[in-house]
Subunit: 372 residues, 2 copies
Amino acid sequence: MAENFSFKLLATDGNARRGLVSMPRGEIRTPAFMPVGTGGTVKAMYMDQVRGVGADIILGNTYHLMLRPGAERVARLGGLHEFARWPYPILTDSGGFQVMSLSKLRKLTEQGVTFRSHIDGAPYEMSPERSIEIQGLLDSDIQMQLDECIELPAERREAERAMELSLRWAERAQRRFAEQAAPGQALFGIVQGGVDPELRRRSADALVGMDLPGYAVGGLAVGEGQEMMLRTLEGVLPHLPSHKPRYLMGVGTPSDLIKSVQRGVDMFDCVMPTRNGRHGLVFTWNGKVNLRNAMHAEDASPLDPESSCPAARDYSRAYLHHLVRSGEYLGAMLLSWVNTAFYQELMAAMRLAIAEGRFSTWAEETLSRIER
Amino acid sequence: MAENFSFKLLATDGNARRGLVSMPRGEIRTPAFMPVGTGGTVKAMYMDQVRGVGADIILGNTYHLMLRPGAERVARLGGLHEFARWPYPILTDSGGFQVMSLSKLRKLTEQGVTFRSHIDGAPYEMSPERSIEIQGLLDSDIQMQLDECIELPAERREAERAMELSLRWAERAQRRFAEQAAPGQALFGIVQGGVDPELRRRSADALVGMDLPGYAVGGLAVGEGQEMMLRTLEGVLPHLPSHKPRYLMGVGTPSDLIKSVQRGVDMFDCVMPTRNGRHGLVFTWNGKVNLRNAMHAEDASPLDPESSCPAARDYSRAYLHHLVRSGEYLGAMLLSWVNTAFYQELMAAMRLAIAEGRFSTWAEETLSRIER
């Protein structure tokens, strides 16, 4: 195992990149999709299944974990890897995004955010330093700076204010991280700036000047539409160093992933595979399937006889339809597994296409197949 | 595989019995506990796990399956074994108990019951013949006669009326079964009669006169208390033939199982292991554990390091507590697995104790351990 965090660019194909992150707890083959393990569990899945479908890294939500079971408690129990039985790399977000979307009575100042828990109303304080402290208590391998993610559309002035605040918070996070980080842990900065190219460029340049081990693009996929998201990415990515990983936060659909990889993104996370699975929606190589639909009620065929995931290969659509309609746990279990497997298959296919220098052909064919 | 249904008594120890049911789809080691797979799924478990913890047979609920996905649909999809991916024996109840407890606007006559679905209000008719027809469509291995299960306490006259109706329905079920049954399938009769020894004896004698392959004791564990249940069993079991299996329906707690085996029962089913698991309550060799309890919040020890079930052996109580408190799917998944495994371990321990002629010592020690 690597002693330090490193990123090796293995191949490029147009702007698409294939790489390898090495860390003490394992390697991450990029482009990588990180299943979201919100509160120490990838919903409705066993960790063995998450690993088994090919995930190298999962994401944990700092906001959820700080509220329940609490960061100090997780630390006393040996850290998040031990607690949740996932010994491989974990990336944690800063908590900021969910403080903004879930908590109550929040108040943002230069210092940080105060808010009340959406679970029991208990008061909390979150600052750039406290976010890093929590992520350290969780023993997270890749930690994210606290940032301010604004809603889109937004006034330029508002986007600029939040971007500049996020930069100041990045510096505070970096100082705190330097004091406490374990060997091989990495802190990523987050590019903000709404959909304004000049703000995004300023944010990227300033973060690159801090020489962080990786960079995320935040504040996208929040309602601006795929086209605007991709245009923003196209403006930002050339300003990020090619020898460091680039992480597009909270994205997205299979189409989003393909088109973002095509523009040079290396890492992704999204609740979509598990959340959609819980609602009976699955992704396949032939497009989306809504298993609630009556057309599946007597269909004895599996979702995908070619899949290596037992849930896609061995269960009839009729049975899955029945489970979804009946609200059975097993429906959520099987379909979360199907989607998590599909997302990993998709990333594996992209890595292979890049390695073989045929990414754009592959992308075109795949997009027409999954979007039909 | 056996071509016909047979029961072999392998050992007795006091009134406790160890036996083997052989059927075309497999063997059932008795005393046996049947996990309940209500609507074609043992809730929150994979069938591989149900098999893996040692279950030889599961139970399907005719009422739930006839409403959704529908018996004819299951038949078109190849039967319940194929549909739910459980190729081993399945016992189905008659549907009567749940018609009485769940459905709406039910009306009982000599002919049968009419009722409306609790799901969508659709009207249905259930008769002794239709119940067997449905169980045949499901391709159930052990089918149960339709009976009338009354609430306790009840007037003797009411218990007698229901018992006699159940006997007439048993005869109608037997005729219908003879017309349609596949080789190796078995029909069990159900002894009724409330808690009245004379009614129970009359019911048992009449059913034994029909020479059915197995006999159930129904209408117990419906509020009469363990002592009354055991006393009723003691009155009934001597009237059932020793060379046929005896099934106590809908029972029960570990203590119920031990004390009923001690009196000569061979088969059980109950939702308790999975339902309790979903609510954070688990059974262990050292008694019940409520994982919601704050005392587990920082307990890094597993539920049972000696268990062969990974859910009991490999996960900390602290993590399970967190999952239960957070309402996570994985909590229900792991704890249903723990309980289903425990029930199978309990049955295996009873079979061994009977084989070795030390059942009563074992029972005494185990009861004091699990009830402390």
